[in-house]
Assembly symmetry: C2
C-alpha cells in the first residue's frame, strides 16, 4: 500500500470476497429490483414492532447473506466497520450484539458505504483475512429523524430525496479474487453553505467535486481512466450542480457520470421527487448493481463516490449550514 | 504490526508526538485541574450562543494546542479520526470545516478516545507521518440529548454520572518519540441487559471486563504487566461491578485499577454523584493526566480502556437494553 498525494492511497492486496444487498418494497419495485439479493414486502419485518428494530433486521439479513455466500460465519471475521444514519449509529451497534466480531463504528452519513471499505483496506494490508463493511438506512427511521415523520404528510419540495430502505454488506479480504479495491481518496469536510434539509443533493455536490478533483490530481488521472463514475446520492439537482462545477473546468462528465440516487427509483414529482438517499442507497446500488456489472464484465473499472451530509437537525435549527464529505474508491476487475 | 489472537494487535511504529486537553470550569476545579493545558471559565465560550457551538470551540482549541506543541499545522496532518456524543457526531464534523485534513468520523460513545488511537495506529503502520485522534463532550449538549436538559432540575439517582465538558487531541506519528502505543484490543458489543440511562457505569462494566480478559488472553499477560489499568468511565458503581467480575475469576484488580470518571471530580451525592462521563472524560484524563505521568516517569506502562454505552434515547424508549463496547490500548515509555 502507498500513500499518493495529499489524500489518496493505492492498495495492492484488498479484494472483494462476497457482497449482499437487501431492500424494501419500493426499492424492489424500482428499475434495479432484479439485482438485489433479497427484498421484504414491508417496512416492518421479522415481527418487529418498531422501524428501528426492522432496520436492524434488514442489516443483519444482509450480513448473513454476505457471510453465507463466502461460506463463513461471524467467528471467521476479524473486524467489522459499520455505520448508519440513526442517532449514535444505534442500528449498527444493536445489530452487533449477536455477532462475535470486533466492531468499529463509523459515521460519514451516506458516505459511510465507501468509508467502511477504505478503513477495511487500511486494516487488511497488514492484518487478518477478512473485514466486513456494512451500512443501512430505513425510510421511516431517517425521515422522522431528519425531517418529519411520514405520517405527518408534509409537503415535499422538488429537490427532496426519499431515504432508501435497504442494507448492504461487503466482505473484503487480502486473498486474491476477481474484484480489487485499487485506489481510495479520503474526503475533507466541504461546506457549500446550503441550509435546506430537503435539498441534500446540492449540499453534497461541492464535496463530491472536491474529492473527484483530489483523486484525479493525486493519481494524475483524467476521468477517462474509468468506465463509469458513480456518485451517491446527489439527486437530480445535485448531479446537475456537479456537472456544472466540472463544466467550469472545461470537463464534461455527463457520459461517465451516474448517480445511485437517480438510478434506484423511477423519478417523479409526487413521491420520490429527485431520487433516493441514505447510507443504504449507494450501499445497495453498489452491492446489488455495480459489483454484479463488474463481475459480468459489463464494467471493468469504476470510481465510486459516496457523499454524506454531516448536519443534524439541531445544527440547522441553530441556523447553521450543511457541511458535507465524500469518500472515493476505485474497483477493478482482474483476470 | 501483527494481529495477535482474536481481537488484538501489536504495533512497532506508532508513537505519541503531542497531546492537548481543554476543559470547562468544573473539571478545572477538580482534583486534576492543574494537569490540563487550558480551561475556560464558562460553558458558553468564544462568544458562541449555543452549547453545541461552544463544544466545537473547545474541540478546535484542543486541536490547535496539540498542533502548536508539535510545531505543525493542519496541512501537515495526513488524516484525522474524530468523534463525539452528539447526534451524527455533528461537533466533530462542524469543527472539521476549518481544517484541511482528510477526515474519518468514528463513533463508539465514550470509547471513541481509544478507538481513534487504534485506527490511527492501523493507518500509520503503512502510511503518512501524522494522524490526529480527537474527541470531545460537553455537559449541556449531552445531558439534554441523553437524559434531560439541566434547566429542568431533574432529580438524579446515586448512580448518575455527570458529562465532562472537555476536549482531547492526541497527535500520533511513526517517527520515534518517548511514548509508544504498543498493544491494542478492539472490543465487541457486550450487552449486560441494563436499562437505566442514569446508570451507564454498570451498563459498561461487562464490556470492559470482556476486553480486559480478551487482551490478557490474546497476549498471554497477567494484570501485573501494567503499572496501572485505567478505565473510563465506569463511575463508582461500574468500577465496583468490574472489580466483582474479576473477583469471580480469583483476580484482585483493586491495586491496579483506576477509573477516569472517579478521578476527574470530587465525588459527592449532590452534584456529581458517582463520577464523570462522556468522550471528553477519559479523553482529557488521558491527554492531561496519564500521558504527563508517563512523561514524568511516575508511570511506565499502562493499559487504557475507554468504555462506551451504545444506546440512544429512542432504543431505550422502545424498552431495549444498553449495549456497550470497550477498546483498549497500552502505552509505554521508551528510553
Amino acid at each position: 500500500m502507498g500513500k499518493v498525494g495529499k489524500s489518496s492511497y493505492l492498495f495492492h492486496n484488498v479484494y472483494i470476497k462476497s457482497f449482499a444487498s437487501v431492500v424494501g418494497p419500493k426499492e424492489y419495485n424500482g428499475p434495479l429490483g432484479s439485482y438485489f439479493d433479497k427484498h421484504y414486502d414491508s417496512l416492518l419485518i421479522d415481527g418487529e414492532k418498531s422501524f428501528e428494530k426492522s432496520e436492524i433486521a434488514y442489516l443483519k439479513s444482509s450480513i448473513n447473506i454476505c457471510l453465507s455466500k463466502a461460506n463463513l460465519n461471524d467467528n471467521d471475521i476479524n473486524i467489522i466497520f459499520c455505520g448508519d444514519l440513526n442517532n449514535q449509529i444505534a442500528i449498527s451497534s444493536y445489530a452487533m450484539r449477536d455477532l462475535n466480531i470486533p466492531y468499529v463504528g463509523i459515521f460519514a452519513a451516506c458516505a459511510t458505504a465507501t468509508l467502511g471499505i477504505i478503513n477495511s483496506a487500511f486494516y487488511l494490508e497488514n492484518n487478518g483475512l477478512y473485514a466486513l463493511s456494512c451500512t443501512s438506512s430505513h425510510n421511516c427511521t431517517a425521515e422522522r429523524q431528519f425531517r418529519y415523520p411520514n405520517e405527518y404528510g408534509t409537503q415535499r419540495s422538488c429537490t427532496y430525496t426519499s431515504t432508501v430502505t435497504g442494507a448492504s454488506s461487503i466482505l473484503l479480504t487480502n486473498i486474491k479474487t476477481n474484484l480489487i479495491i485499487r485506489r481510495a481518496t479520503i474526503g475533507k469536510v466541504v461546506d457549500g453553505k446550503f441550509k435546506d434539509s430537503q435539498d441534500m443533493g446540492r449540499a453534497m455536490a461541492p464535496a463530491c467535486y472536491h474529492t473527484i478533483k483530489r483523486h484525479m490530481l493525486d493519481f494524475n488521472l483524467s476521468i477517462n481512466e474509468y468506465d463509469k463514475i458513480f456518485t451517491g446520492d446527489l439527486s437530480t439537482y445535485g448531479s446537475n450542480l456537479l456537472i456544472d462545477l466540472f463544466k467550469e473546468d472545461g470537463i464534461d462528465i455527463t457520459s461517465k457520470h451516474e448517480d445511485c440516487g437517480k438510478m434506484i427509483y423511477e423519478l417523479n414529482c409526487d413521491d420520490v421527487t429527485s431520487g433516493g438517499s441514505g447510507c443504504g442507497c449507494i450501499g445497495v446500488v453498489l452491492s446489488g448493481y455495480i459489483l454484479n456489472k463488474l463481475l459480468s464484465g459489463e464494467l471493468n473499472k469504476v470510481l465510486v463516490l459516496a457523499t454524506g451530509a454531516l448536519m443534524n437537525p439541531i445544527m440547522l435549527a441553530q441556523k447553521d449550514t450543511i457541511p458535507a464529505i465524500c469518500h472515493a474508491i476505485s474497483i477493478e476487475v482482474i483476470k
